[in-house]
C-alpha cells in the first residue's frame, strides 16, 4: 500500500539527512579486573571480585546498604521503609541515583549511564524476565526471586557486593542472640501458644490478619516458638484478611504479638485493631500477654537483630503463667 511506501521513503529520507552529519563516539578503554563467580536464581554469573559501581533493584537495596554496601543507583523504597533504617544508611540511600519506582519501571538508559559494574535485583520473576536481557547488556546481573530464604539471600548478596566482612559480624551477633533468647525463655518457648497478628496499609478497613510471614518466621523457625501455621501447600495464613469480629477468636492463644514502631506504639495500620473493644476484652490483652514487637525488616541481619532485641524485651515483660 502507499502508506508503507511513504513511510519507508520518509524514514530513509530522514536517515539520509541525518547521516550526513555523522560522527564517531569514543569507546571507553576496557581494563581487565579480577572476577569470581556467584550463584543466584538466574544461574552462576561471573562478577567483578571488588565491584565499585553497584546498582540495586527492588529488595536488594536496603539489605546491601545494611551490610555496609554503597550502591550508586537504586530503585525507590517507601517513605515508611526509609523511616525505619539508621540515619547513616539513610544518607547512603539518598546519595545514590534514583532509577524509578519499581522493577519494571526502571529507567534503563539512566541505569546504563551510571556505568555500573554489577547489578543486583530482587523482584517478581515475571518482572525480571522482562528486563533481564537489557540488564545483562549493561553489566553482570544477579537476580533473586521473592521466595528466596533471607539468610541465603543475605549471604549471596554479601558475596556479590563484596561486603562479607559486614555480614560475618552480623551473623555472629545473630547466632549469639538466638542462643540467649532460647536459653532465657526455654520453658516459656516450650509450653506457650503464640499468635502473631498484623494489619497493613493495603488491608481493607475493619480487617486484620494472622500473619505467618515476616519477622515471625524467625521467632518460629530459629527460636522455636509455637505460632499457628498454614496447612502444607495452602496459602500463608496472612493472605486471608479477617473481619474484626474474629478478633474474639484470638482468645484461644496464650500470648499475642502485634506490630509496633520503634517507639513501641502500635504501627499506624494496626492502631485501629488496638482501639477496638473486642481487642481490649481479650484475656491476653487484659493480663498483659499481648506483646508489641518492632520488626524493621526481615531480609537482612541488621533489621532482624533489632527485631530480636525488641522480642527479647517484650518476652521479659510477660507475667509468670498461673
Amino acid at each position: 500500500m502507499t502508506t508503507t511506501r511513504l513511510l519507508t521513503a520518509a524514514l530513509l529520507g530522514a536517515a539520509l539527512v541525518l547521516s550526513a552529519c555523522g560522527g564517531d563516539g569514543d569507546d571507553a578503554g576496557e581494563t581487565t579486573v579480577a572476577t569470581r563467580t556467584v550463584t543466584a536464581d538466574n544461574g552462576t554469573v561471573e562478577v567483578p571480585a571488588d565491584p565499585q559501581r553497584v546498582v540495586t533493584i527492588g529488595n536488594t537495596t536496603l539489605p546491601l546498604i545494611d551490610m555496609g554496601g554503597a550502591p550508586v543507583g537504586v530503585t525507590d523504597v517507601t517513605a515508611s521503609e526509609l523511616s525505619l533504617i539508621p540515619e547513616q544508611q539513610k544518607a547512603t540511600f539518598q546519595a545514590a541515583t534514583s532509577l524509578g519506582s519499581s522493577g519494571d519501571q526502571v529507567d534503563m538508559e539512566k541505569l546504563a549511564a551510571l556505568k555500573p559494574d554489577l547489578i543486583l535485583a530482587q523482584l517478581p520473576d515475571s518482572e525480571f524476565e522482562q528486563i533481564a536481557k537489557q540488564l545483562d547488556s549493561i553489566a553482570p546481573t544477579l537476580f533473586w526471586g521473592l521466595d528466596v530464604e533471607w539468610k541465603t539471600f543475605a549471604g549471596a548478596l554479601a558475596e556479590a557486593g563484596n561486603v562479607t566482612d559486614g555480614l560475618s559480624g552480623q551473623q555472629a551477633a545473630f547466632t549469639a542472640k538466638i542462643a540467649t533468647i532460647q536459653q532465657t525463655y526455654a520453658t516459656l518457648i516450650k509450653d506457650t501458644s503464640f499468635v502473631n497478628v498484623d494489619r497493613w496499609a493495603s488491608s481493607d478497613p475493619g480487617t486484620f490478619s494472622i500473619a505467618d510471614f515476616g519477622c515471625v518466621e524467625i521467632a518460629q523457625g530459629d527460636i522455636g516458638m509455637t505460632f499457628p501455621e498454614a496447612a502444607a501447600g495452602a496459602d500463608p495464613l496472612g493472605w486471608t484478611s479477617l473481619p474484626f469480629e474474629q478478633i474474639a477468636g484470638l482468645s484461644k492463644y496464650d500470648v499475642i504479638t502485634y506490630p509496633v514502631d520503634a517507639a513501641g506504639r502500635p504501627t499506624e495500620p494496626f492502631a485501629p485493631v488496638v482501639a477496638t473493644n473486642t481487642w481490649k476484652a481479650l484475656p491476653a490483652v487484659q493480663s498483659g500477654r499481648a506483646l508489641g514487637v518492632f520488626c524493621p525488616g526481615n531480609n537482612s541481619y541488621g533489621p532482624v537483630l533489632r527485631y530480636l532485641d525488641s522480642l527479647d524485651a517484650a518476652l521479659a515483660t510477660l507475667p509468670a503463667k498461673e
Binding site: 500500500m1 502508506t3 520518509a10 519501571q105 534503563m108 549511564a113 517478581p124 524476565e129 549493561i138 521473592l146
Partner: protein, 350 residues
C-alpha cells in the same frame, strides 16, 4: 469497484494492488503524507533522546551497524524496537477503533465496549498474580481473557441476531463484573506484584524487544490486510442494516467478521503491551477531522493512531517528570482532547 460510479464531488485517487483498493481523495492523501512525515520526525527524535546521552552521529552509526556493545544495544535493541512497537501498535489500535466505530455507528465505540480490555486485564492479572508467569504466558492469559470475554458478550447479546445497542449494554454489564474482579485480585496480591500488574494494566511499552515487535507486527500486518479488504462492506454497513442487505451484504456474518478483526487487532496490542487506552477511540475521530471525510477511513486512522502512540510514548518517557506507562499519558491526553472535540461539536449541534 462494482455498481454505479459514485460521484464523491472531490478529486479522487484510486490505488489498486491485487484485490485491495484504497480510495483516497486529494486532501486525505496530503493528510496521510503529513502524518507520515510527523511520525518519521517523532521517530527520529525518539531515537536520539534518552537519559543515556548519545550524539546524532552515534545513533546513526549504531543504526547502520557501525557501533557495537552498549551503544548498539541502546539504539538498536532498546530504542528502535520501542519506536517500531509504538508505530505498529498505534496503527493497529487506530484501525481497530475505526472498524468498531463504523460498525456500531457510534463515535465512542472501541473494542473496550465489548469487555475486551477488562477481560484481557483479568487474564493477565491471573497469570501475574497466581502463576507469576513469564512474558508468553502473560500474552496467552491476556488473549484468552479478552477473547473469552468478547465471546461471552457476543453470546449474551445474541438474540435473533446481534443488535448494536444490546451489544453495548451487555458489554457494560460484563465489563463492570470483570472490573470488580480485577480490583479484588489486585487487592489480594503482594505490593510488588500488584504494582507490576497495575503498570501492565495501564498499558506500557517498557522493555519491548524485537521478538515481541516481530510477532505482534506479523499478526497485525495480516489483520490490517483483512481490514483493508473488508472496508467496502464496512462502508455499506454504515448506511444501515437494511440498506446494506439490499446491496447484497450478508449483515450478520459481516458484522461478526468485523468484530473478530477489530478485537484481534486490539488483542494483539494488548497481549504485547497491556491495554493502551483511548488511541482506538481517538485516532479515527482525529483522522476524520483532519481529512474532512464524511465516514471513518482506515488509512488515515492507522497513521493517526501510529503518530498518537509514538508521541504519547515520547511524552511518557522523556517529558513526564518520571517515566510513566504510555497508557497513563494516552488517557490524560485522550480524555482532554476528546472532551474538547465532542464538546465543541455538541455545542455546534445543539
Amino acid at each position: 469497484m462494482s455498481g454505479a460510479r459514485v460521484d464523491f464531488g472531490r478529486r479522487v485517487l484510486v490505488l489498486r494492488r491485487r484485490r485491495i483498493a484504497v480510495r483516497l481523495d486529494r486532501r486525505s492523501a496530503v493528510v496521510c503524507a503529513l502524518l507520515t512525515l510527523a511520525a518519521a520526525g517523532t521517530a527520529a527524535l525518539a531515537l536520539t533522546t534518552g537519559s543515556y546521552h548519545l550524539g546524532t552521529g552515534q545513533v546513526l552509526a549504531a543504526l547502520t551497524g557501525g557501533e557495537t556493545g552498549l551503544v548498539h544495544d541502546i539504539v538498536v535493541e532498546w530504542r528502535l524496537p520501542r519506536v517500531a512497537a509504538a508505530l505498529i501498535f498505534g496503527a493497529a489500535l487506530g484501525v481497530s477503533g475505526a472498524v468498531f466505530q463504523s460498525m456500531l455507528r457510534n463515535p465512542l465505540a472501541d473494542p473496550g465496549i465489548i469487555g475486551f480490555s477488562q477481560g484481557s486485564y483479568t487474564g493477565a492479572l491471573l497469570v501475574i498474580l497466581i502463576i507469576d508467569g513469564g512474558y508468553w504466558q502473560l500474552v496467552g492469559g491476556a488473549l484468552a481473557g479478552g477473547m473469552a470475554t468478547a465471546l461471552a458478550v457476543y453470546v449474551l447479546a445474541y438474540r435473533r441476531g446481534v443488535q448494536g445497542f444490546r451489544l453495548i449494554v451487555v458489554g457494560i454489564g460484563v465489563s463492570a463484573v470483570l472490573e470488580s474482579l480485577n480490583v479484588w485480585l489486585i487487592l489480594q496480591a503482594e505490593l510488588e506484584q500488584a504494582m507490576a500488574a497495575a503498570a501492565w494494566g495501564a498499558g506500557s511499552l517498557n522493555g519491548v524487544a524485537w521478538d515481541q515487535v516481530a510477532t505482534g507486527g506479523a499478526c497485525i500486518t495480516v489483520l490490517l490486510l483483512v481490514a483493508g479488504a473488508a472496508s467496502r462492506p464496512m462502508r455499506q454497513l454504515e448506511l444501515g442494516d437494511d440498506a446494506a442487505a439490499a446491496q447484497g451484504v450478508p449483515v450478520s456474518s459481516t458484522r461478526l467478521g468485523l468484530i473478530v478483526v477489530g478485537v484481534a487487532l486490539t488483542a494483539t496490542v494488548t497481549a504485547a503491551s497491556g491495554p493502551i487506552a483511548f488511541i482506538s477511540l481517538l485516532a479515527p475521530q482525529i483522522a476524520r477531522r483532519l481529512a474532512r471525510t464524511a465516514g471513518i477511513t482506515l488509512v488515515p486512522a492507522a497513521l493517526t493512531g501510529a503518530l498518537l502512540c509514538l508521541v504519547a510514548d515520547y511524552i511518557a518517557q522523556h517529558v513526564a517528570p518520571t517515566p510513566l506507562p504510555v497508557g497513563v499519558v494516552t488517557v490524560i491526553l485522550g480524555g482532554g482532547y476528546l472532551g474538547r472535540l465532542l464538546f465543541t461539536e455538541a455545542r455546534r449541534r445543539l
